[in-house]
């Protein structure tokens, strides 16, 4: 269904803006979808873990990851790998904080991650407030430069990451444990899955991929500002939900999320082409999310 919707939007876009369906335009659209798709990796894992799991710190952690790379490298390539490693480690640790709050303080994931997001925003204002740094050319080249077949590097990064996530979900013990946790936590526990460890790991991975997504985003927009990734938090949730992953957990895949990311990017592009302003885009987003929820995620009634 989602691919059908994508095709429909493509046709609308093609009609509204003749000459849209060229290779470079489509590649451009794919680039934007790739950024969203990479940022939605962590969100997919967290939502799969069930029990109203959701990570609302994705945008803030992504921005923080980008700030670290921006400030630490100051545009120098030889420091890039070190800065990247540090940024990913920090993302992982912030994810652990999320996971710890959810598992040990038993906060609803939404509240915990919203709180951590606020905290991280504070860190960003504190560390990034003094703008000094630059985007290393290596990163720009890796993300926006052409690798092969005239396609930008970010698409290859996305493809590799997608394969990795698919392997993680479907070929490892962790993946099996995650699906088990999501579909029936108690049964998973009774079958010997170490709930706490895998839940914290899931949130930690979400932080890790969010930071990675933030760095990729930095390479894509090539500018740093203090709310770089924040606008992506909601779309990652929508992408996952639109991709057919149930918010109750346990059912879904990253392939669905990728299709969801494409759908949202197309939708945004259509709304832009039709000259719909910010308020219209927000309203449209809200309505679409509600629509998908009504299709996939209704709770049982009492009768």
């Amino acid at each position: 269904m989602i691919l059908f919707l994508c095709a429909l939007l493509l046709v609308i876009q093609g009609l509204a803006q003749p000459g849209f369906l060229t290779l470079s335009q489509v590649a451009n659209l794919m680039k934007i979808a790739a950024v969203l798709g990479i940022l939605a990796i962590g969100q997919t894992l967290v939502i799969l873990s069930g029990n109203e799991g959701v990570d609302l710190s994705v945008g803030a952690v992504a921005t923080f990851g980008a700030v670290l790379v921006y400030n630490l490298t100051r545009g120098q390539d030889d420091r890039f790998l070190l800065a990247l490693a540090l940024s990913l480690a920090v993302g992982f640790i912030l994810g652990c904080l999320n996971g710890g709050l959810v598992v040990y303080s038993r906060l609803p994931p939404l509240v915990a991650t919203l709180g951590v997001g606020t905290l991280v925003q504070g860190l960003i204002v504190w560390l990034g407030g003094r703008e000094r740094g630059a985007v290393p050319p290596l990163l720009v080249e890796a993300v926006s430069g052409t690798w092969a077949f005239g396609l930008p590097g970010i698409l290859f990064i996305w493809a590799v990451l997608a394969l990795g996530v698919a392997l993680l979900l479907h070929r490892t013990y962790y993946g099996k444990a995650l699906y088990a946790l999501g579909s029936n936590r108690r049964a998973a526990f009774l079958s010997g899955v170490r709930l706490e460890r895998y839940l914290v790991l899931t949130y930690a991975l979400s932080g890790f991929f969010s930071a990675l997504g933030g760095v990729v985003l930095l390479g894509h927009v090539q500018l740093m500002h203090l709310t770089l990734g924040q606008a992506y938090t909601l779309p990652t949730v929508v992408a996952v939900v639109a991709g057919g992953t149930l918010l109750t957990g346990g059912v879904g895949s990253y392939w669905g999320t990728m299709a969801g990311a494409l759908l949202i990017t197309l939708l945004q592009s259509v709304l832009l082409t039709l000259r719909i302003e910010e308020f219209g885009r927000q309203v449209a987003f809200g309505l679409i999310l509600l629509g998908f929820l009504a299709v996939y995620g209704r709770e049982k009634g009492f009768r």
Partner: protein, 304 residues
């Protein structure tokens, strides 16, 4: 009858008194009647927003759209204040709050969408509509309304009214049904509680209280802003948790959330008074909120 247990909001009350004295010790001017009255006035928007959130949480849900709904009612009021009349603006704002709440309630209770995500989505609806009504900050509040809370005793009145209405309603059938629905919806339904209707009413109540919050925010700031409410959402949930209401629903009440909201505002003032540099203030506040959430979740679950 056995010895009565402490009320659920005892820890919050203790903490509030403690922080109040701590603030008084660190900044003696803070506790004189004038400053105290200003403090109470400035806490009103958060208090009413948290009160609305409490109604929804008690019924077993959560409302993530409440910040945006506050914004929406606020811009509706401001636009009508400027163009039409104060009375019309007030009425329209309150009605907008009720309608927004009704939309949430129907989505959750009748369409049976998960409260968390459904209200997340409607939040974007309300936020978008607010931007449509008032694309950029502006508008003025008529002077008569701005001076509403100027007398030193005036800020007390909304608190007393809120508490009075709550204490009255809690003992009525409606209050009992609210707690029953939040405690165990299935059992309540089997016993003839109109669960869906109670849920819709609780969301509508939350919308109405958010609209009052918007009104007090307007009195405080004197101008409209289409993005002012969204950052208050986390605060409203934090206040509920701090006040001893459990997010799983069915236990707690408004008294605790009022204290929780006051605590948040006191903390903020304290951070300001201690002269924390401005680029660290967001961080300090985030830290305090997170710490409060983490520990209260921990302590309450252990205790209960």
């Amino acid at each position: 009858m056995v010895k009565r247990a402490l009320p659920y909001y005892a820890p919050a009350l203790l903490l509030t008194v403690l922080v109040l004295f701590l603030s008084g010790g660190l900044a003696p001017g803070l506790l004189d009647p004038f400053n105290l009255s200003r403090l109470l006035a400035s806490a009103l928007p958060m208090v009413f927003l948290a009160a609305g959130q409490t109604l929804v949480v008690l019924s077993g849900g959560i409302d993530l759209s409440l910040g945006s709904l506050l914004t929406f009612t606020l811009v509706v009021m401001v636009v009508l204040f400027d163009g039409v009349a104060v009375g019309v603006g007030l009425l329209a704002g309150l009605v907008a709050g009720l309608i927004g709440g009704a939309i949430n309630g129907v989505a959750v209770a009748y369409l049976r969408l998960q409260p968390l995500v459904a209200t997340f989505a409607t939040g974007f609806l309300f936020g978008g509509l607010a931007l449509w009504v008032l694309p950029r900050p502006g508008g003025t509040v008529p002077p008569g309304l701005r001076e509403l809370l100027d007398p030193p005793w005036a800020p007390l009145i909304p608190y007393l009214l809120l508490l009075g209405v709550w204490v009255y309603l809690r003992r009525r059938p409606w209050g009992v049904l609210l707690y029953a629905t939040g405690g165990q919806a299935g059992a309540a339904y089997a016993n003839g509680v109109p669960v869906a209707r109670v849920r819709v009413l609780s969301y509508m109540g939350a919308g109405l209280l958010a609209a009052f919050g918007a009104l007090f925010l307007l009195v405080e700031t004197g101008t409209g802003d289409p993005l002012v409410g969204q950052p208050m959402l986390l605060g409203s949930i934090t206040a509920v948790v701090l006040g001893g209401t459990r997010l799983s629903g069915g236990t707690g009440g408004l008294e605790g959330s009022i204290l929780g909201a006051l605590l948040l505002v006191l903390f903020r003032n304290l951070v300001f008074f201690l002269g924390v540099p401005s680029d660290l203030q967001v961080l300090a506040e985030g830290l305090v909120v997170l710490l409060a959430l983490a520990t209260s979740g921990y302590v309450l679950r252990r205790g209960a």
